[in-house]
Symmetry: C2
Subunit: 518 residues, 2 copies
Amino acid sequence: MKPSIPRGTRDFGPAEMQKRNFIFSVVKKNFELFGYEPIETPTMENSETLLGKYGEEGDKLVFRILDSGEFLEKIPLGEQGQKVLESPKVESFITDDLLPILTEETGLTDEEIEAGNIDFNKIVPILGEKFIHFFENIKMSDLSFFSNEIVRYITEKALRYDLTVPFARYVVMNQHNLTFPFKRYQIQPVWRADKPQKGRYREFYQCDADIIGSNSLINELDLISLMDKSFSELKIPVLLKFNNRKILSSIAEIINAKDKIVEITIAIDKLDKIGKDGVVKELTEKGIDASSVQKLTPLFDFKGSNADKVKVLKTFVGENEIGKKGIEEIEYLLLNSNTSAAEIELDITLARGLNYYTGTIFEVKANAGTFTPSILGGGRYDDLTGIFGLPNMSGVGISFGVDRIYDVMEELNLFPESISKTSSTKLLFAHFDESNRDYCISLANELRKNNISCEVYPDVTKKVAKQFEYADKKNIPFVCVIGSNEMQNKRYMLKDMSKGTQEEMSLEDIINKLSGQA
Amino acid sequence: MKPSIPRGTRDFGPAEMQKRNFIFSVVKKNFELFGYEPIETPTMENSETLLGKYGEEGDKLVFRILDSGEFLEKIPLGEQGQKVLESPKVESFITDDLLPILTEETGLTDEEIEAGNIDFNKIVPILGEKFIHFFENIKMSDLSFFSNEIVRYITEKALRYDLTVPFARYVVMNQHNLTFPFKRYQIQPVWRADKPQKGRYREFYQCDADIIGSNSLINELDLISLMDKSFSELKIPVLLKFNNRKILSSIAEIINAKDKIVEITIAIDKLDKIGKDGVVKELTEKGIDASSVQKLTPLFDFKGSNADKVKVLKTFVGENEIGKKGIEEIEYLLLNSNTSAAEIELDITLARGLNYYTGTIFEVKANAGTFTPSILGGGRYDDLTGIFGLPNMSGVGISFGVDRIYDVMEELNLFPESISKTSSTKLLFAHFDESNRDYCISLANELRKNNISCEVYPDVTKKVAKQFEYADKKNIPFVCVIGSNEMQNKRYMLKDMSKGTQEEMSLEDIINKLSGQA
């Protein structure tokens, strides 16, 4: 068997782990500097917690976990049959075999039944055991329909798709024990059944900070400072784009297409990819009339400074209430934010896919190099916890995409050189025979008591060169070769691997020297 | 919708995270002190990587991920039918509908086909399209059989069950880039579809350290020191039981039941639960003859010191080669290990479930309190990478069970008191109005530049008491209330929340004072 791993997933070896941990530590440190506290939620959520929260496309990308045991038994038969019958497609279940049973039990004619005017929920108790027969006659070749129907019953659990929905679920479940406004950070992987490509993985980490239970705009300001400080410490020059969903809502109102807000958002979000003409075409296809589309077009080639853009926007929005509120929020953030690594840009075409955003939305891209995927996203949601039974909890949050930050830092060569050259092991004890080696163990344990990381080469071999090679490949900076002289005199030759020098020392000297380096 | 999480999974709030992180940090620090380097593997592995490695019971506990899209299309029909036919249970597929097709196409009689003497692989091309019909006639009511058959085709991926098998897979895939002996640590969750109960979760963390590519016993010694040091720092008194699989092998040889080694291991492993009589009964049921069982019984009530036990064992093993090797290894470890927190006990009935162990095996339990589940397990495996194509790579490793260590530490009240009383936030800025609050932001950013964690209460409220309550609930040790006087004089009253005292200071004084506390 030739081993492999699933498409879109990755192993991380020691060198990659060091670089990844560098990013995690910077982000985590800044989360804590700004007063966010850690939580973790389970990898597996109930499917019903996740489904319906990420749009139709999102639902398809949720990885579902097959129920354990005799999972097919969970497909409703007989007493639970009504669940299946609630399906809008259920008419297609009526096979030639089922018809006579249905006419006999209901007294309806074939035609009445086929026309669909039959209350399935009422006949389920009548059918009882005969209902099993109904399932026996489903054609397995009708797979596509059957896949969609069956999946609901055999996958109670699914893999976390993002950290925001589980956070909302957590807040609702723990509302009586939390202090609001509640500031939490969460650093965990998420999974999406997306087509893998450069910068897009099926398993990747999100690092989220959210504050919920406060609608103050200073939370947005705080998050801008947090992003700016983090990217500054990672040395990534970034473009921080922002917009406000209230502007998108006002646009929909102004062109009398309030019911088309989702379609408008999706179309405008594609401006980068399909250009102005593409967006106009898509809007028209979605049923926006020509004069309304005409009204929108000035927004697509918004140029100039942020102040210039606000001016144009004010004219466009006029007296529209929600639009004015959006502009007010935008102006507050432009006036009060203060960044060093991040260039802030108001981007009226920024929409972000997720339906739950209602106010400010953020997106960050690297402002250098050729590989510039989105490396952070976020925004304000006024009622995300509402679906779980806790309405009116406004929150705002951001999510760092560590895997893409890693890719960008590799491309721009931004990892500190020291990272890849460092081993956690400071010293290797080498030796010639078994008694030398066993003596090394006691020396090693003394060093470890003093928090100095070290190793004893485990195998007995006369080849000291092989042991040096091991130290070299692992980037271990010091080697001490122990022979019978060393055991007798308790003086040890400490070799500095990078300088090539060596020095005779006592164990205490070694401890003192390497403690300084820890 | 009332939100919930799947059975056997847990959310971790800030207080629990602090305690969990304390355990992780101790274990991680010690892994690094002993020269182990971090790796991470994907949550999802190919199902074929995992299945067959944990015994029949283990396979049932692996969580499988439903393939995305039209997963039912993957169930082989027609041209891929041969896969299904490879199933040993395929005879039960031969329905009355299929029989006439098979006799017609193969020329065999009904009796010959039903007896199973038919080469299915040969007839698949003959059957061709008619094979679809075969599937249409499978009775959905035969669910139990169908579940088992179908699951192989609709779940290409599964959730990690432990860290050892993915590690072996990683080593084989990366063998040309690794320096051997390779010492790695790995801290990640694993998933098992086990029945949840106290101390048994469906999602839990393992912290593994393994060294592979060296069969030296000093690796076992090193791991004993590592365990001892870690539990000592966690302040858990522990009983470290060990045994050697070679002893179990020799026992099987001595009683002429070499082919029953797995059954003997499983039976002996239950001694704690079912007692001596239970084990005797199980061994007899598994076909071990009475005189052999009689020979084994002295081993079941092994008493006295480790040295006493070795003496009895030597008599039992006599001249059996593998037994003598096992005793030699046991004596080496008893002679050379040196522990402080851990009491070491040779336990000849310790077997450990996993099939891949071949030498030393370890198990650790708390040596105090009433709740004493296994909190660490491990052992030596001589050929775990063999199944993935790299034979003769001996390795040894241990796995800390963080979730149970947490439960034991809670029960024994072992977490340092400081942990639950500490907030990462050092200071809260409180205020009276909007201009006060906005001024706080600039103060907060100054503190953060100096790596002092702080927060500004985000909402404008005249109720300063509410802001103090927030600080109190979050265990924030200092509060600074900013009013117009403070803004004018740039002198701030720093209130110590635990002492109840306050002191007027400049921003610089505050920074100096709180830096010392960071």
